[in-house]
Subunit: 493 residues, 2 copies
């Protein structure tokens, strides 16, 4: 191996180990830390982030990267990712990074109160400053990468797909929605009402069921933990995954489907190519790719008719009561209910993309300078009404609902719907490759699907950008027709 490349690899392994420490401390802060530990944790994380930035921008690394030569495609991809990571880090002046971190933190704090009070005016000046600094950030990244400013932000979450590619996909989905949503609602209205599951749902039983189902998906608890946190997430590191959930004693579906979702993320991390651990090419391929893996498990596989046939008796064994509510048709009615709600995180898989399309349009306009923060509530409500035909009664149910923008995350939202679409496309390809898949799902046998994902996607690490990864796994770039085909099959056939 070229010595400069070997040295660069060693430097990136150190940066990655710092990132792992940050991941574990982040998990701890959400799942374990007593409230009084918060201030010190902030210092610890800031110190680790500062050191990682110093290592990433070190002149010695620049020199190594200039001399480095890669011998094979994996090394080439790794080296390109190293150079990209350093270029992005060097593109941003320290003063801008620090001003952004301060503005995001200040805005996020004010947002919590503003959301509770439905008071957009309170957060507006803070969000204005966040957006101003995000524009500056986008321009600096654009200048260093040759991408457009918005694409340069998006690249920080998911590389290998541009806003110009996303736009027609979203426009087409809007048309699908206009046509299909009323039909789905009509069919739903004609169907029998869903029977609620008979309670009670003791947390201990919920926990045991979540654990056993995640194991059935393929999660190995020698390399994972399942804990509780206010907002469920998948954290940790590839050999030490930490997933969390939140148990609602009145509704086991929340924790159950949530854990299946996080298990999809976890399986991706566990399936990353071990020989490339702690190298850029050994990481997951981005946020859209990650979301495709949580959604292929939760939405595609586990909410399928086939799997619900398997799941019903498992639920009944855990919680008891008569068989009827556990029938697959009833579980489908309960867990695939479609409605024009205002809150993204509660949305069904048909209306969810509308939430994302709205945010994609608005954040592009904010970053492009075509929309001012002061005009955001009006633009939100107008856009929401155009997409879903209803208007949020308050800003708390409108532009104040999500933390993302108020914490400086612009370019992230498209990942959710790109992931949902990729999940449908991957599922379709898996079904073709695995003719016994439906029977496997009905038997609760996830190994064939997870094995296929491991081979075609997880094991590819971060070698390929979004479109190329889909090409590799399914033979074509993003094809949103697979997603609408899935929706028609599930909701309209």
């Amino acid at each position: 191996m070229n010595p400069a490349y070997a040295q660069a690899k060693a430097r990136f392994a150190r940066i990655a180990a710092l990132g792992e420490a940050q991941a574990m401390l982040g998990w701890d802060a959400s799942a374990m830390m007593p409230p009084g530990g918060g201030a010190a944790r902030g210092e610890q994380l800031a110190t680790l982030a500062g050191l990682a930035h110093e290592l990433l921008t070190a002149p010695a690394l620049t020199a190594d990267l200039a001399e480095a030569r890669a011998a094979d495609p994996w090394d080439s991809a790794n080296l390109a990712l190293m150079r990209r990571a350093q270029a992005r880090a060097l593109a941003l002046p320290t003063a801008l990074v620090e001003a952004s971190a301060r503005a995001n933190s200040a805005c996020e704090k004010v947002w919590r109160g503003a959301k509770a009070a439905g008071d957009f005016a309170a957060v507006s000046p803070f969000l204005t400053e966040v957006v101003r600094l995000q524009r500056e950030t986008a321009e600096a990244l654009a200048a260093a990468s040759g991408l457009s400013p918005y694409d340069a932000l998006m690249e920080g979450y998911q590389r290998g797909v541009t806003a110009a590619e996303v736009e027609p996909v979203f426009t087409a989905y809007e048309a699908f929605l206009r046509e299909a949503l009323p039909q789905v609602e009509e069919r739903q209205a004609r169907a029998p009402a869903a029977l609620p599951l008979p309670g009670p749902f003791p947390v201990a039983q919920q926990r045991a069921l979540c654990r056993s189902l995640s194991q059935r998906m393929g999660l190995d608890y020698d390399h994972a933990r399942l804990d509780e946190s206010l907002h469920p997430f998948c954290g940790g590191t590839p050999t030490d995954i930490r997933i969390t959930t939140h148990y609602d004693p009145a509704d086991p579906a929340k924790a159950l489907l949530g854990v299946l979702h996080e298990t999809g993320h976890a399986l991706y991390e566990r399936g990353l190519p071990e020989p490339w651990a702690r190298q850029p090419v050994g990481e997951a391929a981005g946020m859209a790719a990650h979301e495709s893996q949580s959604l292929i498990i939760e939405m595609q596989a586990c909410r399928s008719d086939s799997f619900l046939r398997f799941l019903g008796p498992q639920l009944q064994a855990s919680f008891g009561g008569p068989a009827a509510p556990y029938a697959p048709e009833n579980l489908g009615r309960l867990w695939r209910h479609v409605s024009r709600g205002f809150i993204r995180v509660n949305a069904d898989e048909i209306t969810y993309p509308a939430h994302i399309i709205l945010r994609f349009r608005l954040e592009r306009a904010l970053i492009g300078g075509d929309l001012s923060v002061a005009d955001l509530p009006g633009a939100w409500n107008e856009g929401f009404a155009r997409l879903l035909g209803v208007t949020p009664p308050t800003d708390a149910e409108g532009c104040l609902q999500d933390i993302h923008w108020h914490d400086g995350a612009f370019g992230y939202f498209p990942s959710y719907t790109l992931g949902a679409m990729a999940a449908a496309q991957l599922m379709k390809a898996a079904r073709i490759a695995l003719p016994g898949l439906e029977a496997d799902l009905a038997a609760g046998n996830m190994a064939p699907l997870v094995g296929w994902l491991r081979h075609n996607l997880h094991g590819q690490g971060n070698r390929l950008g979004f479109q190329d990864l889909l090409r590799h796994a399914t033979g074509k770039p993003l094809d949103p027709g697979d997603f609408t085909e899935h929706l028609r099959a599930r909701y309209l056939s």
Copy 2:
């Protein structure tokens, strides 16, 4: 503030934040981590340790320390500790540090099997290498500090006390033991047999009792957690303490007294001077000082007749059954039983120092080159027989029992007995300062004692070395007479 000193403070704050991250990851590894996370955790901790070492030995810090001027006694102490920390770090060549870490790790691994098999020959060559590198380390530290090699090692655990001061203290204790131990045994033989506590002792009740008693000691769970681990410890950081214990369903005393012990450590960390957080002078004053704080809570306060009067009814309320076993005299017979056992961690407070005296003599001889590792088992058994009149039947109950030496910790053992003696001395001073102390203990009111400790010891941080800290808190340096006076009062009056 002198700018160079201000810069040095900022650098040390960063090093301390890295140390905090290491502390949290260490706690996680013992209390939370799934087994498969071990290898990655090793990488993470090694990376953090390496970065901390780089920051501590950076030429820029050397330059700051050369220019730095302190304005008051706290700053002076802080600056002196900074210089000492850098001098110790610079004294050790990287190759020696790495060779030591490897040798310790290899020896510790072999030791686990050797201890289980009672096979000293298996570990002997590994321990020989560990000792060789410890000698080299001691000589390098000695050359940089002007201390003797063994004192230079001891300084790494507890500064401000020398082997020359420890030696006569231990010799005097040996004489006390020869006289007092047979008397204690004779009295014990004449006393009624201890009644066992009536079980069962459900873990949930043990946990609740441990938690409520630690709160009663003054531990605030907004800044602390209580979890489980194989070997109990106190970890975390001053605003986010993590104590652990191990529940034995057959004996609640283990977890209970263990948690009280760890709570003593925790209160010390919580009581460190907040304005000096993340500075060397704001840390605890060393391992002997720390042990004095765990033992003043566990041994001095909580095993006192007065506190046992309070504790008995608490235990009975938790576990039920007749009153007799919960009487303070019976709890005293159960929890202050003296015996000539072979295992240090099970030893009572009278024979415990004999274990330490033996290790102190042997490790000084090993580091001084007067004893070879091959001769250790013989020297151990001979020394043990001289001190306690009994000979370990196997090396597993002899020189193989503790991890410390096999993990490269030389100079640490004296801290245990220095801490026990300091605890007695501090308790005597507290009793004089707080005339109502016995009544408070009998009422379970710990606030006066903990307040006194906070003011006289915790709040002093690391400003003073061991002897000076005792002088500050009690008006005199270590006076082992206070310890033997305590033992005579408890066991012979």
